[in-house]
C-alpha cells in the first residue's frame, strides 16, 4: 500500500510567539524596541528638566541631576567598592530565591495535587502572604542575629508565595490526559512526577519566579539597611550619611537598572522554556 497520503497534511503554520524568523516580524520587534527606548529618553528628559530647569539655581534638588549621577556612576563603577556591593546584593537575591524555590515548589506541588491540603492551607497562606515581609525584620534579627541570615529569611519569605501559588495552579492545570498516559505506561509515582508533572508545571514555576524576583528586589534594599555592612541598601544609607548626593542618585539608578536586567533575564528564561508549549 502506498504511504504517500501519510505525509499529505502539512505542518501547521508556526504560531505567533515563536522565535522571530520573517523580516516583517523583525521590523515589528525593532519598532517596539525603538518606541521603548524613546519612552526611556522621555523619562530622562523629565528627570533632567525637573532637576535642572524647574529647580532654582542653588537648590538642593540640583544635586540629583542625571548628568551628575551618570558621571558619578562611571567613577563608582571603576574606582570604588560598588561592584562588591552589587555582587553581595545579587548573591543575597539568588540565595533568597533559591530557598523560596526549594520550599515553594514542593509545597505547591502537594497543594495543587490535594484538594484537602489546598483547603487546609489556603486561608493561612493568604494571611501570611499579605504580611509585608519587612514587618518580620525585627523578629528575624532577634531570632537569627545580625548579618546575612535574617536577610535570606526575609527574601525567601517574600519570594515563596508567588512561587508556591503559581506551582499549585500549574498542577491544577495539568491535563488529565497526560496523567492517564503515564498511568497507561505503568509509570511509577516518581516517573510521573519527573516526566509529566514537573515539566508540565515548569512554565508556571517560572512565572512565579518572575513575580518573586520583582518582590525580592523591592524588599532587598530596605532589608539591607539594617545590621549589615555591604549591599545596595547599605550603600544607599552610606551615601546619605556622607552627604554624597550624586552617589545616592547613582545608586538609585543602579538599583533600577539591575532590577530591570533581572526581570529581563527571568522573562528570557520563561520564553526559552515556554516557546515550546
Amino acid at each position: 500500500m502506498s504511504v504517500s497520503w501519510a505525509t499529505a497534511d502539512p505542518p501547521k503554520a508556526v504560531p505567533a510567539g515563536r522565535p522571530i524568523s520573517s523580516s516583517s516580524a523583525w521590523r515589528a520587534a525593532l519598532l517596539r524596541q525603538t518606541i521603548g527606548i524613546a519612552g526611556l529618553a522621555v523619562l530622562l528628559v523629565l528627570w533632567w528638566g525637573g532637576t535642572k530647569l524647574i529647580a532654582a539655581p542653588g537648590s538642593f534638588l540640583r544635586h540629583f541631576s542625571p548628568l551628575e549621577a551618570v558621571t558619578t556612576l562611571g567613577r563608582l563603577a571603576t574606582n570604588s567598592d560598588l561592584p562588591i556591593h552589587v555582587l553581595v546584593s545579587l548573591r543575597r537575591v539568588l540565595i533568597g530565591l533559591g530557598l523560596a524555590l526549594v520550599i515553594g515548589v514542593p509545597i505547591g506541588l502537594a497543594v495543587g495535587r490535594s484538594a484537602l491540603l489546598n483547603s487546609a492551607t489556603s486561608p493561612s497562606f493568604q494571611f501570611l502572604r499579605m504580611i509585608s515581609p519587612l514587618s518580620w525584620m525585627p523578629l528575624a534579627v532577634m531570632v537569627l542575629g545580625v548579618g546575612d541570615r535574617p536577610i535570606y529569611f526575609l527574601l525567601a519569605f517574600a519570594a515563596v508565595w508567588p512561587i508556591l501559588l503559581s506551582t499549585a495552579e500549574g498542577v491544577r492545570q495539568l491535563q488529565p490526559a497526560w496523567l492517564r498516559l503515564a498511568a497507561s505506561l505503568s509509570a511509577t509515582r516518581w516517573e510521573t512526577l519527573r516526566h509529566v508533572v514537573l515539566p508540565g508545571v515548569l512554565a508556571h514555576v517560572l512565572t512565579g519566579l518572575r513575580l518573586a524576583i520583582g518582590v525580592v528586589w523591592i524588599v532587598l534594599v530596605p532589608c539591607e539597611m539594617l545590621g549589615v555592612s555591604a549591599g545596595l541598601g547599605y550603600f544607599i544609607l552610606d551615601t546619605r550619611d556622607r552627604l554624597a548626593y550624586s552617589e545616592l542618585t547613582a545608586m538609585v539608578l543602579v538599583i533600577g537598572l539591575l532590577g530591570f536586567l533581572l526581570d529581563a533575564a527571568a522573562r528570557g528564561l520563561n520564553r526559552l522554556v515556554t516557546h515550546r508549549h
Binding site: 497534511d9 505542518p11 501547521k12 498516559l181 505506561l185 505503568s186 516517573e191 509529566v196 515550546r276
Partner: protein, 264 residues
Amino acid sequence: MIGQTILEANAVTLRYDGDQGNVLDPFDFALKPGETIGILGPSGVGKSSLLRVLAGLQQPSSGAVHIRGQALWGPHPRVSIAFQDPSLLPWLTLERNVAFGLDFKHQPQLSRAERARRVDEAIAEVGLSSARNQFPDQLSGGMAQRAALARCLAREPDILLLDEPFGALDEVTRSQMQRLLLKIVSDLGTAVVLITHDIDEALLVSDRIVLLGGSPARQIGEWTVDLAKPRDDDVSELGRLRVDIVSALRRASPAHHKDEAHAV
C-alpha cells in the same frame, strides 16, 4: 481456548461506587492474535469503561481479564492503548513523544540502540519521519494522532487498544487513519480492539464486530466480517451488515434510535 486467545474477558462487570446497578452487565470476550475486533455502540454506553478494564487501567467489579492466560492486575507491557486525545506532551519533540515511557521501570528493559531502532521504525511506519523534530503544536490533528499511534507501536505490543482514536478528526483524515491502521495490522500482525461509535469505521477495519447496547450495557450482537481488506469497494455486502447492525441497535435501545440515525 486459552491457547488461541491473547486477551480474554470472563463475565466482567462494572459498577461505580455508590451506584445501585451495573454500568456493564457480565461481558465475555476473546481476542485472537492478529485479529481486529470493533466494539461498537452508541455514545455513553460504557465502551470506554470496558476498554479501560481490558487495558488494566481499571479493575472490573467482578469477573476477570486474562492476557495469554494470566490474570491482569494493571497495565501490561505488551498492551498499548491510544485515546481520542493524542495526549502528546507539548514540551517534547515528536520523536521524544514516541519514545516516551520506553525507559520506564515497569517496561521491558531495552538497550539505547534498541530503543532508537523502535522509535525510528514506529515513526517510519506512520509516515512521520520528516516531522520527527517538530513539537506537538506544529502538528495537524491527523499528524498528532499518527504520532500517538507511533508511541503505541514503539512498544511493539501484541495488542493495540484504541479508544475512538479517530473520533476528533475530519472525514478525510479519519479515512486516512483507518487505512493506516489496516496497514499497521497487516505489517505487524498486531491484534486490535477498536472502540468506535462509527458503524462504517467498524465495518472497514474489523474482523469481528461486537455491538454493545442497553443500560446497563451488554453485548447485543456479534458479526463476523469475512471480507478482504481494504474493503472500500465491497459496498453491497457491507451495506447488508450495516442494516443488520442498525436494526439490532434500534431493537436494543429505542431511546438511542434518533441519535444513532444521525450518528451513522
